[in-house]
Symmetry: C2
Subunit: 756 residues, 2 copies
């Protein structure tokens, strides 16, 4: 058992290491040659140019202004300075609301911690139960509920506190839900014209022998929404086409490189080899070679485009249908079109850049089966993932390696290498699995058939949280694999489970404090350092970057990563709520995590991350639901713990807490969730339509919408010339209409013509 001073030392070390991270960050960020690693967002926005191009030779790479080293923490106030509306404008609502999750943590836990330290800690401390027992204990345990004697009336304090904490959490949650809902509605209402406001995605268009998908869709909506239908855009299966486009881009890049090389050194014509990776095969003139290559691929691209557009099989039974008004799109998205509820399914079109194109054409029955398969697969992944890992581990020991590759035996038998293998290999399989887990979950979500990146990330986040809840939270409290726990739980009664878990909770406080410091504090401090992107950027810069466009691409701003970040925060919410009554000593560590993470992520969102899509904070119901879930878990575990403390009279009082909490959840769901899944007709649709009609009576909506939902590969071909600001366009959504206005018109204009 760790004493308070142990924890203090550990905390000191962790704070120190976090501090070192921050200092290193402060030094690295002011170096001009790291500028693209620490401020990519501004490059993408076109608001910052490379500092390398100006200044002296040394000044290009090393910052010589020593004053900037002194103010090494001044990024913090800078990060906090940008007001929220500006932040929404700069980085989107998703990012701004994501930061509110950290704030929510502070709002919930700071008052709880104050209350707990002023009431619960004295009540716990002024007992001497632990001293009477033979158990070894520490000062830390004296602060927890373990120090209260069995059946003591002092448990009433904990009961009252459980109520107080629940009410406070629910109150904050409700207020936050209301705020986010109104932020979302305000964001949607105040936004500029966006194609997705007018567009509905129609899936499962039934096959028709006489008409093409495009015609069918047009006729259907002309009949059923006669006054409102504007235009439609069928969805093509353009996988081969996109790979051709990617190949062409690569050749173009090489051509640029050789042209620059030649212009710098006109004496020698650059040459290349035609074979594998340019290291074997016949030597040819590089510029000529790539020019002809590009010509060839361009030809293939246009053939392929013809084929895609004219081939019936390449047209998927889905379409983006646009309407004349927001009102019409809102009504169409929310209503059922056909008698058969598995055909003509309409839903809001995701933002163009949010669309996950591969999943647009999955039929209903297949979707249902995929959901079942993934459900079962996830169950096995969660509870049985240890089995293959144990198997790999059993293979990957010294004897196994020696048997498999006997000639390595002398090397392996060396003491240093042996100990490395023994210490490292068994953990490696598990570590690798955990690193790849988010990707595995993402693949599962993709297989399940969601049609937008935002939904994919949300679903992956849910699964990741469940995995962490079972394997990290429960797995740490009751030691053993998830499968053993499952086996235990199945053979225990419904009242035993909270008891089993509840009893172990106070004992694990030290472990979780360490966990918060290592995973939370150090993780956040590591996040701001961006070590991996830093290294990769410089490696790429040295070895691969040939043109300015390459440098642009070597820059990896990354995203918030909702599917991994949010479940981690949720784990801290869970720990905080569970330990608030049991061992309040955990709370300051969690509060520190939330505060640090808030500042760091605010900085990163402003300067680094480049959001891939904008869902308008559609993830908030998930966040809210998981916190409520954590609250219920904490109440059940407290109930289990109390019943072992012979404070049985508390059970009926404690059982009303989850009932009330679940009711609160249902209430909030009904009250606020529609703002996230529906689209109110009144303010959002009708008012904006009316306003727009008054302001721009001659607006040509058709040309505005016309190529919004063209497959990105098609778009790229048409945007060839200004490819370098492609990224810029997609982040600055107001510009997208200009850039797409004259793109790919022949295809989008009348996709059926070519099919007839």
């Amino acid at each position: 058992m760790a004493t308070i001073s142990d924890i203090g030392v550990s905390a000191g070390i962790n704070i120190l290491s976090a501090f070192v991270f921050l200092v290193v960050f402060a030094v690295l960020r002011v170096q001009p040659w790291n500028d693209r690693v620490y401020f990519p967002k501004w490059y993408l926005k076109g608001l910052r140019t490379s500092p390398i191009e100006s200044g002296t030779l040394v000044g290009k790479f090393v910052n010589l202004d020593f004053r900037s080293y002194l103010k090494f923490l001044n990024w913090m106030p800078e990060a906090l300075r940008m007001p929220e509306p500006e932040l929404i404008d700069h980085a989107g609502l998703d990012s701004a609301v994501y930061l509110r999750i950290y704030l929510l943590g502070l709002k919930i836990f700071v008052p709880i911690a104050v209350l707990a330290f002023s009431i619960l800690v004295p009540v716990n401390w002024t007992n001497n139960t632990l001293e009477k027992t033979d158990l070894t204990f520490s000062d830390l345990d004296k602060l927890s509920i373990s120090n209260i004697p069995l059946g003591s009336p002092r448990f009433w304090t904990h009961l009252v506190m459980a109520y107080a904490f629940t009410f406070w959490t629910c109150y904050v949650l409700k207020r936050e839900y209301a705020t986010v809902a109104s932020m979302r509605l305000h964001f949607l209402a105040s936004e500029h014209r966006r194609p997705d406001q007018f567009t509905v995605l129609v899936k499962n268009v039934p096959p028709d022998p006489d008409e093409s998908v495009g015609e069918l869709v047009e006729h259907f909506f002309l009949v059923n929404h006669p006054d409102h239908y504007l235009t439609q855009q069928v969805v093509y299966n353009a996988n081969k086409f996109s790979s051709l486009v990617a190949e062409k881009r690569k050749c173009q890049n090489w051509l640029d490189y050789y042209q620059i090389k030649f212009s710098r050194n006109p004496s020698t014509k650059p040459t290349t080899k035609t074979g594998f990776l340019g290291i074997c095969g016949a030597r040819v003139d590089a510029i000529d070679h790539y020019t002809s290559e590009i010509a060839r691929i361009s030809g293939e691209i246009s053939t392929e485009r013809e084929k895609v557009v004219s081939n019936r099989d390449a047209i998927m039974p889905a379409a983006f249908v646009s309407f004349k008004t927001r009102w019409a799109a809102a009504t169409c998205a929310q209503t059922q079109q056909s008698r058969n509820p598995t055909q003509w399914l309409t839903e809001w079109a995701p933002e163009p850049r949010d669309v996950y194109w591969d999943n647009l054409a999955i039929p209903y029955v297949s979707l249902a089966i995929r959901r079942l398969v993934i459900g079962v697969a996830f169950f096995f992944l969660t509870f049985f993932f240890m089995i293959p890992i144990l198997f790999v581990q059993s293979l990957a020991n010294i004897e196994g390696i020696e048997k498999a590759v006997p000639f390595l035996k002398p090397i392996i038998e060396m003491k240093v290498i042996k100990s490395v293998i023994q210490g490292f290999l068994p953990g490696l399989a598990l570590k690798l699995f955990l690193i790849f887990l988010p990707s595995i979950l993402m693949i599962m979500s993709k297989f399940e058939g969601f049609i937008s990146l935002s939904t994919l990330e949300r679903r992956s986040a849910t699964r990741y949280y469940i995995f962490q809840f079972i394997n990290v939270f429960l797995g740490s409290i009751i030691t053993g694999t998830a499968f053993q726990q499952l086996d235990n739980f199945i053979h225990q009664s419904a009242t035993e489970i909270p008891k089993t878990v509840g009893v172990s909770i106070p004992m694990k406080a030290t472990f979780f404090i360490t966990y918060i410091m290592v995973d939370g504090w150090a993780g956040v401090a590591g996040e701001i350092l961006r070590l991996k992107p830093l290294v990769i950027y410089h490696l790429k810069n040295w070895f691969l970057v040939k043109t300015e466009k390459d440098r642009e691409e070597a820059m990896d701003p990354g995203t918030i990563g909702f599917n991994t970040g949010e479940p981690q925060i949720q784990l801290y919410f869970l720990l905080g709520l569970v330990y608030a009554v049991v061992s309040p000593i955990l709370l300051p560590f969690i509060i520190l995590f939330f505060a640090l993470a808030f500042v760091v992520y605010r900085h990163q969102i402003i300067n680094v991350y480049n959001q891939e899509y904008e869902s308008g904070a559609a993830f908030w119901p998930d966040v809210h639901g998981r916190i409520v879930g954590a609250l219920v878990v904490s109440q059940l575990l407290l109930m289990g713990l109390m019943s072992t403390k012979e404070a049985a009279q508390s059970t009926p009082l404690l059982i009303t807490l989850p009932v009330l909490t679940l009711w609160f959840h249902r209430f909030c769901k009904g009250r606020y969730e529609p703002a996230f899944v529906k689209y109110p007709l009144q303010q959002e649709a009708m008012r904006k339509d009316t306003l727009e009609r008054a302001k721009e009576p001659n607006l040509n909506l058709k040309s505005f919408l016309h190529s919004a939902y063209v497959h990105p590969a098609f778009k790229e071909v048409d945007n060839e010339g200004d490819e370098s600001d492609e990224d810029l366009v997609s982040t600055k959504r107001h510009q997208s209409k200009h850039s797409s206005k004259h793109s790919f018109s022949s295809l989008a204009e009348d996709p059926e013509r070519s099919l007839l």
Copy 2:
């Protein structure tokens, strides 16, 4: 343990008693003086007139045509003869689909029984496990799974059968769901114009200091549905008004009575007393008295109407909003109107006669709280209902009565009376509770705030089924009160519960066979006899009926009673599915029940019941869901039973069954449920609109809709003259537009005018 012959004797007795019922019914139904008891539906339809008015004196009351007694079972083929489309036309879709539940029972269980008797019964019979044990057993048990030795490979048969039964049930369920869904859509599409097709109920209209509810609604929809809004009808709180109307009706009835009396016997002027029940107070001239009473009440009614219409507090924040087209109503009902999802809630207006007027104005928060309260109350009702009953029983014993009313002691001490009290009283409290249970559940549903009678009945049915499942099914298998079971289950592990229940199942087969015979067979045979309505009708006829209208009212056709009937059928589905693998001997009894009930209820629906509303078979998702639930329960219990039989290798195979079944349920829910909750725009709305516009271009929809949703009390006042065919109007929906066209126009025309 009952032997087969015991069961045979018992079955014989029950069949005989059912047969006696049927014979008595056959005799009673051909008597002219019972005509209104056994054929009220035809009277209400106006297609049958009293046979008493024609024929000889004796022939008026007793049927002298002896041939009709010989063909005493000819009502059966008659009941089966009417084809389904005609039945839908005659009694509505609800009734026709309700009958399909019985048919579904036959479709599921007849093939299952054939399979079980040809495979399972021989497999069970050809063991002699029971003979080897010391247990007393009967031939009946030899047919059941109990006769298979522990760990025998013969259990594979049961496993395969469980799969076969599950697949067959799911197949039939899916086909039936598809049929009913298409029947519903066809019914909705082929129907004549109905006000609810054009109307949406708007609830939770936010208060506005400047405008009345009517104005507010009108403005809101004029702004947000400018091209489609037609008219609106605010909802009044007319409780006092309706009681006045009822009083007036009573007086009118007395007046009619005395006028008839006077016209038959003009010599003596009829008199009445003004006091209580006409038996005390001053004697006055009856006709004058009631004429003046009616005049007084009429005055009060018009004052009250003024008050209701002009008083702001009497106007509830809800309104029926009608649109110009079905399409517009469909879109409005399915979309969210306002930013705040608790205001301007729109939903399909129920049929006018289906509206439950009292619940139209409950605000959102109150609804949420009511739901919580009723949820908790239902939990306690289900698990703790025995406590007050035990308390009453403890009071209502001999000693208790003697103590309370000592002077009755000599009477009570008489042997006959004592034994009656001892045998009768303890059961009385329970019996009374069970009789009143459906009404209690109905009151709970009403308190919960549903706005249509159909939803009220559906919700009550769900609750009644849960109650029966816990208290009848589980309560009979594991003897003990529900609370004791709950206590047991909480302290048992998840794997123990199916074991505990599963093990007791084979032993209870005899009990449930008796239950089916007594509750099912006799209950159904009793239903056709209509003993209670028969007695009440004749009592009323002798003592109360004064006028022809009274006789009309004394006729009590009753309804199907979905809230009590459906849960009973579901219990048989549950028993059938649970015992199909365990003790197939139960199946023939259940099949006989379904067959008998089908014929009897078909007869009753054709000749007796008068449906109160038409929901278009909206209850089918509930029916489907409960059968799937029963299937899952049967699989879990089989799993529990098998694991005690040392056939543990079957567990993984058996656990996939509930997973697949639940997946099947989700699939069906997505595939068919929208047909029951949404309203497809294509065929149902747009096509009908287009058709109608073509056929009746000059239709005045406004006048058609105009008074459709006026409170029934207001309507009655305006329809005064032709009150006698009020019931007729409400059953023959096509006529309702005629009768309501010129009613209550001053109020409905412009409800705001009077408010200003």
